[in-house]
Chain length 295, copies 2
DNA sequence: TCTACTTGATAATTCATAGTTATTAAATAA
DNA sequence: TTATTTAATAACTATGAATTATCAAGTAGA
């Protein structure tokens, strides 16, 4: 004799409990009446409890049957809900993506991604953390983050990287500086200035790129200040403590009294890339990245 | 292909999710490893969601699998609980018995039953309602009560009745009445008194019995007052508005200034019976009655 | 009270499939 | 390299769910 109730029993039981009529219940279930009868009988044996009374051909529930009916309804409903949610999670429409980013990605790429996700996968949660390039990669390797936005083209083994946004560089000058977009020709007009840059260990590739821009014009910049926050850099420029070279999109989103001169003619670009762990199994991550590449 | 998950799948899934090792999980389940493998695979197909990652022979849960694990734990626990409760209800150890009773049953039978039930079936609930003989029988017929305590030996079709307590009758007299247990010989000493009795329609058999007691002594009592409450009857006797004949056990449980004279020598007895519906399916009722007959 | 028609239960049989054994491929470990 | 361990696959077995055929008991209508 079988020793375990199955969901099949519950579904059959519920049909009989609702119809209180074996033949009709069997029809509803698309099985034969004798099959249904034996399954219900077997169920009563497994549970060691009588669920129905068959009195003069009238089928009725016992008190235990009434109780079980409520519970079975609950269990089957809960199971339905679970199956739906499971599918959503399995297909990356639900769940959580943990995202890290450089401050400079907060101007366009990250907000666009969040808006896109919200629209396409309203049940998907995101957590955001502003971190340095290195901190992001460590967090991704230790599975504390799913996705990072960095300015790095080479990443440690186990990680993958892909550019998502290319930006020109812009000169940042105090508002009353003699150089402006009209008379600006080349970066070597600013050989004598102090430079304010993002800290080397916060974003090494940015740092190297800026140095290479100057090198292409034949000079080595005098770096007077370093910072990890764009806000700080702009404040220093505003106060005439130096000039800066930053990705152009940074000119939006800050309250400041400085002027931007976009240097379209130089070949270097500020590349923002996404980074993730090659074997990350979060299905939401894939959807996230697919959406990002479509933007 | 199968189109329905079964509890079997859930139990297998949980074993693999806990062990993260097919062979070990299969051993724990006392089935073969290939059988387990195919069942899990089939489960993933039915749910259209990958639950495990098999990476270089390491078995791990996907995010969807993690989610399902929690849900399956809940469902299986809930089911266990339900099975236990179902068995208790089915065997009448849990649930509710709705009891009706005459006020005069509140002295011994009903309290004894309640104490006994509490001890033997602590999970069983009881509801109590004081009602007339007729009201109890109607309530039982319409399935509003499971069990009644009445003073009736004949009951309508569909009901069953069984005596549970036999009591002598007692005379109730004012404290300073000339008759006392010493000089009392026969009821005909009280021919001239006014009688106070329980109302005829509240308890017809009691009324008839009292009349037959008097008839046996060769007189018809003069009935001056009728009441449905013992308390009222005693108050009236106390105030010398008449004398009463009541079941002897009523002398306990009331604060009153009257004297009782037990009439052991007369043949009539006040019989308290339990009544129930022949086809009542409440399993707790049977336990209730069995216990009552053992008291 | 007879007949016709329900109802659910039982018996015999069929058939789907859960679970078996045997084997393989791939990954570690020695 | 070889030995061992892993999960997956293939072929087969056997359990038991579901089927058809039938029955007994009850109900309804004349």
């Amino acid at each position: 004799m079988n020793y375990q109730v199955e969901l099949r029993h519950f579904i059959y039981f519920l049909a009989v409990a609702e119809e209180l009529h074996y033949r009709k219940a069997a029809e509803k279930l698309f099985i034969s009446q004798p099959g249904l009868s034996t399954q219900i009988k077997q169920m009563e044996e497994i549970l060691q409890t009588q669920l129905f009374v068959r009195d003069k051909k009238k089928v009725r529930l016992t008190p235990a049957g009434e109780f079980l009916k409520k519970e079975v309804e609950f269990i089957l409903n809960h199971l339905d809900q679970t199956k739906k949610q499971l599918k959503l999670i399995g297909h990356g429409h639900m769940g959580e993506v943990r995202i890290g980013f450089l401050g400079s990605a907060m101007q366009n790429v990250v907000p666009d991604l969040l808006v896109g996700l919200k629209e396409k996968y309203p049940l998907l949660h995101t957590t955001l953390e502003e971190l340095s390039n290195r901190a992001q990669m460590n967090a991704i390797l230790s599975d504390r983050l799913d996705l990072g936005f960095v300015r790095m083209s080479r990443v440690p083994k186990g990680l993958e990287v892909k550019p998502v946004f290319e930006d020109t560089f812009s000169l940042v000058l105090p508002q009353d500086h003699p150089i402006d977009s009209k008379n600006f020709k080349s970066i070597d007009q600013l050989v004598l200035e102090d430079f304010i840059l993002f800290a080397q260990d916060y974003s090494p590739e940015y740092y190297d790129t800026v140095l290479s821009i100057c090198e292409d014009s034949g000079f080595v910049p005098k770096v007077s200040h370093k910072s990890v926050h764009a806000q700080t850099i702009f404040k220093l420029v505003e106060n005439k403590l130096g000039i800066a070279i930053v990705p152009t999109t940074l000119q939006h989103g800050f309250q400041m009294e400085v002027k931007f001169i976009e240097m379209k003619q130089i070949k270097q670009r500020a590349v923002l890339s996404m980074v993730w762990k090659a074997d990350n199994r979060n299905p939401a991550l894939k959807n996230c990245m697919d959406l990002l590449l479509k933007l």
